[in-house]
């Protein structure tokens, strides 16, 4: 059912992309896509290991920052309600470009940010923050969503993860569309 809906949504998005910025159909498409992506975000927590230093205390919160994708943030909040990520209570924060990014463990940067993506990523580089983008670039966040054959898939950039002191589970890599390793 979800796949069918996604299929219809994808077709519509291809047809109407750039023509209509608003409209019910587009709105639906975004919502379905973001629901899947929100679920994926939550599940990344199972396959990524943050360094101990990333948390203020063992009972500290796991903070997710969502930039430029409020729909996803809403979906995610529903998903994580009552759940933990990396054994910590989860807080979802809707952020805007330019806001301070301190204390975050996972940051999703929506495609609406466009050119602001790279500065954001630069800001977060070197910190134990799992950056997730919707960019197809080989130099984007640690995990980057792509839609292939109407399905949400993702690429993993291991050098970036390493740089950010994050350990990505090999099991996650089996599901990834592409795994970009160091040196490439």
């Amino acid at each position: 059912m979800a796949a069918l809906r996604l299929l219809i949504a994808s077709l519509l998005s291809v047809l109407l992309a750039g023509i209509w910025q608003s409209g019910l159909a587009v709105e639906d498409l975004t919502e379905a896509e973001y629901r899947i992506k929100a679920a994926f975000l939550y599940k990344f927590g199972d396959y990524v290991q943050w360094p101990q230093s990333a948390f203020a205390s063992p009972s500290g919160t796991f903070q997710i920052g969502v930039i430029g994708a409020d729909t996803l943030a809403d979906q995610l909040e529903q998903i994580v309600a009552g759940h933990t990520m990396a054994d910590h209570p989860v807080i979802v924060r809707k952020l805007k470009a330019g806001e301070a990014l301190n204390g975050l463990h996972l940051v999703f940067i929506g495609r609406s940010q466009g050119a602001k993506l790279t500065p954001l990523l630069d800001t977060l580089r070197g910190r134990p923050v799992l950056t997730v983008t919707e960019s197809d670039s080989d130099t984007a966040g640690v995990i980057n969503f792509v839609v292939v054959d109407d399905k949400v898939r993702f690429d993993v950039l291991l050098p970036t993860a390493e740089e950010d002191s994050l350990k990505i589970s090999a099991r996650l890599l089996t599901v990834a569309r592409r795994v970009i390793k160091g040196g490439s």
């Binding site: 899947i36 994926f40 599940k43 199972d46 396959y47 399905k151 949400v152 898939r153 993702f154 589970s169 099991r171 996650l172 089996t174 599901v175």
Partner: protein
């Protein structure tokens, strides 16, 4: 019979061995197979459950990130596990997410995941295993694998059968050799026992080959044989002794019989000799008596002629001598007469019948009174004295007894003679009683002998043959005679006669009846 018994014990031992082997094999193989099957069942379930868990762990990311292709790829690694026939992954909502099956799998995947766990469906083991990551159920793994318990049972049965056959064969071969250790000594004893029975040779002994129970049996058997041998020897010796004794006894019995026979024949010879001698004596006596009569008659006759014709011419003294000659010849005539009577009594044949002794006694008394009419004697004769015997001989007996009584009362005042009969149960005793001279009982043993006299001829005349004659008569009638007397007081003579059948002697004798005064 010999070979059958021989085989019987061996076959039994063999059977025992084989059955024991079979039982041990059955138990051991059964236990092994049961243990193995149980282990197989558990291990296989564990194996498949673990496999399902591993599979779940592998496909968890694919489920999490909605990648059925990856899940299918993950499942297809099960190719390497030949026993796994099919596998599937269901998502959290129960939808079929990914499947994989081997070429020969023709079943359908369950449309919904079943209860977690493993269970056997016919020849398949079906496992459902939930995929849980961080406390969340991501989906369910389905595994279907071969469950080979039944084919294993079949395989084990064949193996067990083969093993059992091989073991039985080995047991048969070893047992048929080893059982001889047990059976041979027993059969040896049996052989000796058979020989002992057949030949009765108790000196045979079984050989002791071992120190076990069979050895003890051999010892006991030999001890028994020794005992039997000893007893048989004793018995035979005793039998021999007995046989000897019996032989001796038989011999002495034969000797006794022979002696008896000899004795009898001697008795017969002697009796015959005696009878012959008696006959000769009697014949002699008779002929002598007859022959004596003629010269005696001549002496008497011529003496009489001399007395009558020449009495006048003879002197007084010669006449007196003649008288004495005649007295002597008369006595001699009487003696000869009595001797002839005695001899006759011994020889005549008895002609018995019922005789009235009272009548005979009366006739005798009448004759005596006729001879001496001047004598006064009180004579009583009991009535109805019947006797069974020869009338002439009984008359002779009574004549003798009554004339004796008559004679010995000749000097008695108020002479009295009683002739009667006494009866008790079966015996009839006749008696003749007088109150005459009597005699001394000291001499009674001589009383009935011939020529035995208790009184001088001068006192009472007689020949001394009368009572001998009476005794001979009574004895010839099967009776007995005896006497009782006192000197001067009289005498009683008792006699009995053999009783004839239907004797009526007692009919009328009721008491003394004085017949003549």
């Amino acid at each position: 019979m010999r070979t059958r018994a021989l085989r019987s014990l061996r076959v039994k031992l063999l059977l025992v061995d084989l059955l024991t082997t079979l039982a041990a094999l059955t138990v051991a193989l059964g236990a092994m197979v049961a243990y193995d099957l149980r282990a197989y069942h558990r291990n296989w379930i564990n194996d498949m459950t673990t496999q399902a868990q591993l599979l779940g762990s592998t496909v968890a990311p694919a489920l999490s990130f909605d990648d059925p292709a990856l899940a299918t790829e993950n499942l297809s690694f099960l190719r390497s596990r030949a026993k796994v026939r099919a596998a599937a992954v269901y998502n959290a909502r129960g939808g079929l997410f990914a499947t994989w099956s081997s070429e020969h799998w023709n079943r359908a995947f369950p449309s919904l995941p079943g209860e977690e766990g493993a269970h056997v469906e016919g020849r398949n083991l079906v496992v459902f295993k939930r995929i849980i990551e961080h406390g969340e159920i991501l989906g369910t793994v389905y595994l279907c694998a071969d469950y080979e318990l039944y084919s294993r049972v079949a395989d084990y049965s064949v193996i067990a059968l083969l093993v059992a056959l091989a073991a039985m064969l080995v047991a048969f071969l070893t047992s048929s050799r080893l059982q001889q250790i047990v059976s041979d000594p027993v059969l040896a004893i049996r052989k000796v026992a058979r020989e002992v029975i057949d030949t009765r040779d108790y000196s045979r002994r079984a050989r002791k080959a071992s120190d076990d129970e069979v050895g003890e049996l051999v010892e006991a058997f030999n001890a028994m044989l020794t005992e039997i041998e000893r007893r048989t020897g004793e018995l035979e010796a005793s039998n021999r002794r007995l046989a000897t004794e019996i032989q001796e006894r038989t011999r002495s019995e034969e000797e006794i019989a022979r002696l008896n026979q000899e004795l009898e024949s001697r008795v017969r010879t002697r009796t015959a000799e005696l009878e012959s001698a008696n006959r000769e004596l009697e014949a002699f006596c008779s002929s002598v008596s007859h022959d004596l009569r003629a010269p005696l008659r001549a002496v008497d006759g011529f003496s009489q002629v001399l007395e009558q014709e020449y009495a006048a011419a003879l002197p007084q003294e010669a006449r007196r001598y003649l008288a004495r000659i005649r007295g002597g010849t008369l006595r001699m005539a009487h003696l000869i007469e009595d001797l002839l009577n005695l001899s006759r009594v011994s020889r005549v044949t008895l002609e018995r019948r019922q005789v009235d002794l009272a009548t005979i006694a009366t006739e005798v008394v009448d004759e005596l009174r006729g001879g001496e009419p001047h004598r006064v004697v009180d004579i009583s004769i009991w009535d109805g004295m019947m006797g069974y015997g020869d009338p002439r001989l009984l008359r002779a007996a009574l004549e003798n007894l009554i004339s004796n009584a008559w004679k010995f009362t000749s000097r008695t005042e108020q002479a009295r003679i009683e002739i009667g009969v006494l009866r008790d149960n079966a015996q009839t005793t006749y008696f003749v009683r007088d109150n005459g001279a009597g005699f001394d009982m000291a001499h009674c043993d001589k009383l009935f002998g011939a020529f035995q006299r208790l009184h001088s001829v001068r006192e009472f005349p007689g020949t001394g043959v009368g009572l001998a004659t009476v005794r001979r008569i009574v004895e010839r009638h099967g009776g007995r005679i005896w006497a009782d007397a006192r000197v001067g007081k009289g005498a009683v003579f008792f006699f009995t006669l053999a009783v004839a059948d239907g004797d009526s002697a007692s009919d009328a004798a009721q008491g003394p009846v004085k017949s003549v005064a």
